[in-house]
Amino acid sequence: MSIKDRLSGNEAVANAMRQINPDVFAAFPITPSTEIPQYFAQFVADGKVDTEYVTVESEHSSMSTCIGAAAAGARAVTATSSAGLAFMYEVLYVAASSRLPITLACVNRTLTGPININNDHSDSMGARDSGWLQIYAENNQEAYDNYLQAMRISEHPSVRLPIMICQDGFITSHAVENILLESDEDVKKFVGEYHPEHALIGRDHPLAVGPYDSCPYCMEHKVQQAEAMKNAKKVILDVAADFERTFGRHYGFFEEYRMEDAEVALVLIGSTAGTAKACIEKLRAQGVKAGLVKVRVFRPFPMEEIAQALKNVKAVAVMDKSEGYSACGGPLFAEVRSACYDLDNPPKMIDVVYGLAGRDCAVEDVEKVYYHLLKIVETGDVGPRYIHFGQRSNQEEVL
């Protein structure tokens, strides 16, 4: 039985953690994820969990603590944002290469340079090649639901990779919305216990983790890791199917919104999907066949599936909420454009880099993007493929 409540995204994730009662939680505060360790500290203080709560002196140490704990056979979790995730960068790779299923609640915030506390996806996008699974949420409900599915994906013997459960800083993490919470008992039953075959402690044989992996072996281990990432695709769908059977809410690699006959479509990640959906309803009322692909799973990237979803669309704008400084588009654009390369008749495609460092993106803004796509369809001229949107300018911009 689901319980209707009103929670912020941070509260939702902290509550999911409480319900799961992980063995070790290690975190260092950083805006906007700080509330998660705070809520969790209160759960510890009130005896609602029996987790070992390690108040580390840095994010590097929070990830390192999780690495030690996970290798010891414990379920280890952390939360962070922005520079905190960047400070973990080195050990994110180690967590993945050591095949340790750690769960990280990432509350997306722009990556410092210059320092700014607001949302974009530059922090987790920077870690996209670290070997972590990455699942993104549109709202607090999805952040909660994704968190409940995280461990079953990450701990699966064919996967054994760490997982990042991402939500948009402030927009999702701090906004209080209605949410359906599942009962503690049902959550515990769904998530289950963690029993790794090998662990540093509590087994009849020792375990050695983290070798110097010389040239004759290291590539083989990286290939194993790449295979595990491929294996995760099936597991993600299996867990989502079981989640739907258990709790009634459907999840996949991405959500297709009004895509059945869409001629113009956006591909984006996170809370902007809500804005885009409102815009689509407005445009549909005017007869515009607008659609949306909201990417939920970014790692592993659902390449063939995305291509299938876009194959009948005439023009697509990929909305990147982070810069790649590649001079040719953001990270989502690179993946989506590559995915469509094998289509016989790929849609025309542009990249719209928007919302950096919390720059607002309203329904009217999204509408401009759709109208730009309609113009591309009409004229057949794609124009500039890599566009920034939302910045002030003293010259006429594409959008």
């Binding site: 290469s97 050695a208 072996y217």
Partner: protein, 103 residues
């Protein structure tokens, strides 16, 4: 429980037959590496001169002076690298270093 053993992993092993993440599920598999080949000087133990004081044993960086029931045994020449520390700490000149020669 069955798992992949270090002795079955080598530079010809396909990725499917290697342990995930480079884990090893046994202790002391380094014994499979015969570091004695590095040695240019060989320690020679003279049991007649040895008083079994065991001052040599803890100084060996290569765990190559086996001790059993409070008595040292002969050197583990499969692994001894010939550093010569044991010869220096022996108060009874029971250890000498000899040049390794190629037969």
């Amino acid at each position: 429980m069955s798992y992949i053993k270090a002795e079955n992993i080598n530079e010809q092993s396909p990725w499917q037959e290697m342990t995930p993440g480079g884990e090893i599920y046994e202790g002391g598999t380094s014994r499979l590496t015969k570091t004695g080949e590095w040695r240019s000087n060989r320690p020679v133990w003279d049991p007649a001169k040895c008083r079994q004081c065991l001052l040599c044993a803890p100084f060996c960086p290569d765990s190559s002076i086996p001790v059993k029931d409070c008595k040292r045994l002969d050197f583990d020449l499969d692994h001894c690298k010939g550093c010569g520390i044991c010869q220096k700490v022996c108060p009874f000149a029971a250890i000498t270093m000899e040049q390794e020669v190629h037969q």
